[in-house]
């Protein structure tokens, strides 16, 4: 979240789109209730289904799954066309005046530089600003230059007329305009809209671009950095935010530092590329500090073994030969027989990943599989024949499965990072049962065995393992407290103020913030973003002071929020260029008091940079402003464009009806064996989407009796019209099939899913919850992901769970 849960109460309008907050985040949803009760806020829900969130909404609009970019692009067009934008905000705080290079173009659904063979844009150099002789981006404050971002964006979205958008999305025109007009009201400086989204945006082949489109909308309305504004990802697992913060993705390092590619063998070039100079005069370009974060990380990992002489161990870092080894890539490799073993820690791939048949076949090719989990997962039982629910031939599977029971969060101390970016410490509530051990204990044991094997037997590349600094009190089981202190980091020598020479911290003391990090090896920090969470004051994550002196819900004494205990990102933008809040009465966040920045939140800015210095609020960007134009950062292009899901019920992209190449995302990676099992609308006519229910949490709570009582048995949701056409009544058993397999479930026949008129066709949606499987106390069911396609978002490769095609028959 750019903002945080409690801050939702400051919103005047809550847009839930690409998510179902009441259903999936019922506890956080209380802040929507607060906004409605005490701020007279309205709630607008846009979703293919009339959800539990819609049940308490002021306005609901149906939309076809996978068409959100069309909806948002149309809204962007509408706001620009009717001039309902926050003018002063966009002129000063965004890239609207920036002039783009001449070579940039967009034609027939493709940007310049596309290579069909590799399904990518290998050369994105023209997707950038025109620079002047000083290396600064050229701008046109009048916004009239034909290649300024404002004009390009206006042109790009001029195709997204209300009529065409309504045809693509299936949203009735009148209702769509009602929603757009309601949203447009927040272009006023004192009114804010918050966007709450979740996997309903993420899990599409154009998911990242959907989220970008939402962010662009918020920029146009001046809602970023504002109380009650922002683009707010509601994270699914309680610590999934922590997972990304700590870089548990194949191409990341902790704190959103990035792993080098294999063509980046030079350390200085690696750093320079990630530490860009400002693109406009007087801008901060905070990533210029990249080297400090990186060196401090390497010191935390390797201690005395790294120094300037060995480039802080740069050669020990893996260099990626692929953009990323995401789950689809890894399982495709496994499926192709290129992997021997797999460690599966805290998740359940056979249930959680698309195309169960492929995952099952892939696991069957392993020599060994290690599953670390508190529960018996389907993955650990993938070899077990369970009726039709897991119809495998056990005798033909030779994979050895090791099951290592782990503790769950309530059985250990530690911190969880929630959607709000708060690190909240928690304390053990119970002793672990049986032989369950913390994951750290298991990983520690594995590390020691590996290291001693390298010591005894050598190896091709032992250095990264042998040199790892493992100075924990009990090496077999480092404590959560030790690890948390390490993430924060400490001074390795006496740290002196560069100006006064005064000793700020003595060697060995905990750092108080990432501003103290240095790139000379004198500091260590396991995750620069977490620096400040465990200082000499102690464990700030354990704070529970909810006082709120300004009544703005910022509660700076509750837990600790990254970065620097800041609750709302980009909050400098909540004040106008002169440094005063856009709305001094209801939206006071930070302001310039004549000598420094201060306020109800920790200012996200240079504390002493006066407004007349003209430093812009988006300090992480080298241009200092927020981007409508993504430059070369997105796989598909700088502006989000609507592409159809890979399985589309209409078979063409109404924006480019004559170009099959751009029906679906041209820059999404597709493996050949998966291309073959995509289905077509002729055979599988219905648009399907998968989702979670409030009664269950993923595949865990079907092990719990009370959750299972509340939602005992697998079902699918069908609209009344479709059900009556197929002769299906509520409670009947139905078979839902895609080109990859089938499931059978109880039919819930509902008014809440209505047929939509899309591109001249009637499109029915089928709603498929995903919680059931073949272990647990709930009634056995089929793995929903038997049905879903094995294709991911063009940037993140998050699978397209939310849009695919099925057929439905009565059993």
């Amino acid at each position: 979240m750019t903002n945080h849960w409690n801050d939702i109460k400051n919103a005047n309008l809550v847009l839930v789109m690409g998510g179902n907050a009441a259903e999936a985040h019922p506890v956080g949803f209380k802040w929507v209730t607060e906004a409605k009760a005490h701020n007279q806020a309205k709630l607008v829900v846009v979703d293919p289904r009339f959800t539990r969130t819609a049940s308490v909404a002021d306005l609901y609009a149906p939309i076809r799954t996978g068409s959100d970019i069309a909806f948002l692009g149309g809204l962007i067009h509408y706001l620009l066309d009717t001039d309902q934008i926050q003018h002063e905000y966009v002129r000063n705080y965004t890239d609207m005046p920036f002039i783009v290079k001449e070579g940039f173009s967009f034609e027939d659904g493709l940007y310049n530089g596309y290579d069909a063979d590799s399904r990518s844009y290998p050369d994105k150099s023209e997707w950038d600003y025109e620079l002047d002789d000083n290396g600064h981006a050229r701008v046109d404050p009048t916004l009239s230059h034909p290649r300024c971002v404002y004009q390009l964006m206006k042109k790009h979205y001029s195709r997204y007329t209300p009529e065409l958008v309504s045809q693509i999305c299936g949203t009735p025109l009148k209702r769509m305009m009602q929603v757009w007009d309601t949203i447009a009201e927040t272009a006023v400086p004192g009114k804010t809209m918050t966007i709450l989204y979740a996997l309903g945006w993420t899990q599409h082949s154009v998911g990242s671009q959907m989220i970008r489109a939402g962010a662009m909308l918020q920029l146009l309305l001046g809602n970023i950095g504002m109380p009650g504004g922002g683009v707010n990802a509601l994270r699914g697992h309680s610590n999934i935010q922590g997972l990304t913060d700590l870089g548990l993705l194949s191409n990341l390092l902790p704190g959103y530092l990035t792993l080098p590619r294999d063509n980046e063998q030079d350390y200085n070039a690696y750093i320079a590329k990630r530490a860009p100079q400002p693109l406009r005069p007087g801008q901060m370009s905070y990533w210029q500090n990249y080297g400090k974060f990186h060196v401090s990380l390497m010191k935390a990992w390797y201690g005395d073994a790294v120094s300037a002489e060995n480039n802080w161990g740069y050669d020990w870092l893996p260099k990626l030969d692929e953009p990323m080894y995401d789950v689809l890539k890894v399982f495709d490799m496994m499926y192709e027989g290129k992997m021997n073993g797999y460690f599966c820690q805290g998740f359940n791939p056979i249930a959680a990943f698309p195309n169960k048949a492929k995952i099952s076949a892939a696991l069957s090719k392993l020599k060994y599989l290690v599953v670390m989990d508190p529960l018996t997962t389907e993955t650990s039982e993938f070899w077990q024949h369970v009726d039709d629910y897991n119809d495998v031939d056990t005798t033909s599977i030779q994979t050895t499965v090791f099951r290592l029971p782990t503790t769950c969060f309530a059985e250990e101390n530690g911190s969880l990072v929630n959607s709000s970016r708060w690190l909240q410490w928690h304390w053990k509530g119970a002793e672990p049962p049986g032989e369950a051990h913390p994951d750290v204990f298991i990983m520690g044991g594995l590390f020691h065995r590996l290291r001693s094997m390298y010591q005894k037997e050598g190896g091709v590349f032992p250095d990264p393992i042998l040199n790892l600094d493992w100075s924990y009190e009990r090496p077999d089981e480092p404590t959560p407290e030790e690890i948390a202190r390490e993430f924060n980091g400490k001074a390795l020598v006496d740290l002196k103020d560069p100006v006064t020479g005064e000793v700020l911290l003595k060697a060995g003391q905990q750092l108080s913030g990432f501003g103290q990090l240095r790139d000379d090896g004198s500091t260590s920090s396991g995750c620069w973003l977490f620096c400040g969470s465990w200082t000499e004051e102690g464990n700030l994550m354990a704070r529970r002071d909810n006082s709120d002196p300004y009544n703005m819900g910022q509660t700076l004494g509750w837990a600790w929020s990254w970065p620097a205990n800041r609750r709302i990102l980009y909050n400098r933008a909540s004040a106008d260029p002169s440094g005063q809040p856009w709305d001094d009465e209801r939206k006071r966040l930070v302001w310039w008091d004549g000598s420094k920045w201060t306020g109800t939140d920790v200012p996200d800015f240079a504390a002493r940079s006066a407004p007349e210095d003209n430093m812009s609020p988006f300090i992480m960007n080298p241009e200092g402003v927020a981007r409508f134009f993504a430059r070369g950062n997105m796989a598909e292009g700088p502006f989000p464009e609507h592409y159809e899901p890979f399985e589309t019920p209409i078979g063409r992209n109404p924006l480019h009806p004559n170009s099959a190449a751009v029906t679906s995302n041209p820059a999404a990676r597709v493996f050949r064996n998966d291309m073959e099992v995509f289905g077509s609308a002729e055979e599988f006519p219905h648009a399907a989407t998968t989702y979670r229910l409030t009664e269950h949490f993923h595949y865990w709570t079907k092990h719990n009796r009370l959750n299972s009582i509340a939602q005992p048995q697998q079902f699918v949701e069908l609209g009344e019209v479709m059900a009556s056409e197929l002769g299906i009544k509520a409670g009947d058993r139905v078979r839902v099939s895609s080109n990859r397999g089938f499931i059978e479930a109880v039919a819930v026949v509902t008014k809440r899913i209505r047929p939509l008129q899309v591109d001249g066709k009637t499109v029915h949606h089928v709603g498929i919850p995903l919680h059931w499987g073949f272990v647990g106390v709930a009634k056995n069911g089929y793995i929903t992901n038997t049905l879903t396609p094995f294709v991911g978002d063009g940037n993140t490769n998050t699978p397209e769970f939310k849009s695919f095609l099925v057929n439905v028959e009565k059993v």
């Binding site: 009760a37 819609a54 308490v56 009796r705 509340a710 048995q713 819930v748 809440r752 009634k779």
Partner: protein, 309 residues
Amino acid sequence: MATQDIIARSATTTASPSVRQFDEVAKLIDTTVCIGCKACQVACSEWNDLRDEVGDNVGVYDNPSDLTADSWTVMRFDEHETSEGDLEWLIRKDGCMHCEDPGCLKACPSPGAIVKYDNGIVDFDQDKCIGCGYCVTGCPFDVPRISKKDNKAYKCTLCSDRVSVGLEPACVKTCPTGAIVFGTKDEMKEHANWRIQDLKGRGYENAGIYDPQGVGGTHVMYVLHHADKPQLYSDLPKDPAISPLVGAWKGVAKPLAMLAMAATAAAGFFHYIRIGPNRVSKEDEAAVEHDAAQAGTNSPDAGGTSDER
């Protein structure tokens, strides 16, 4: 609650103690804020240590699909199309309404099996319950359920055990959106009025409180978007009243029944006066002793190991 807090007992005519005076309490369920998450269902089962069966999906979101002796509250989901063609998903937490004039208590023939406390809570004392099911008939909201395990009636207690020590009911404590609130009945009415004002501002002209007077008002109240049509909410009765049969049993029929019982007693008395005590013959006694001996021999305790699986 303590016995001195009881102001009404089933099948009892003696006056109740009135040592302590509490304010009347109420639980207010705001259907317009409720998101149907069922956390209240789970909290109820947790607090009261109830574990119902893992059932079946019968084609709706309601699970369990009805109240049972082990599920004292359930969410009922109703889909409603407005005259403008818009959809409303009306979700109502169903359970005991804790009537001011409780039909169950009136119907119950077992002394003290159903009591009402002076704070308004209606509670069942299963120890005294005889499982006759009259409370089920007596309830205008179809709430009590007879357990198949012990043949006794069960329903929501409004967490009388928690309330008696100053805690709110478990469902209130757990509700994430604040759709369920608890306090004195006056406070709850005030809260409801504040909510109704908000709803009217959002276009719900008929928003209102559900506190039906046919049962003297209730200690569980609803805020409804459509207070004029409570039936939309999974058949919440518009004008609930105690069944005339219960009225008849306690009203007209009861004296008649008493009369009949008196007549039976009188008949027995006159029989004794005129004919004398019944006598048991020697043959009768011998037969009874023989049966008892037979029963002893066949008792499974004596040597039975037939079912040790």
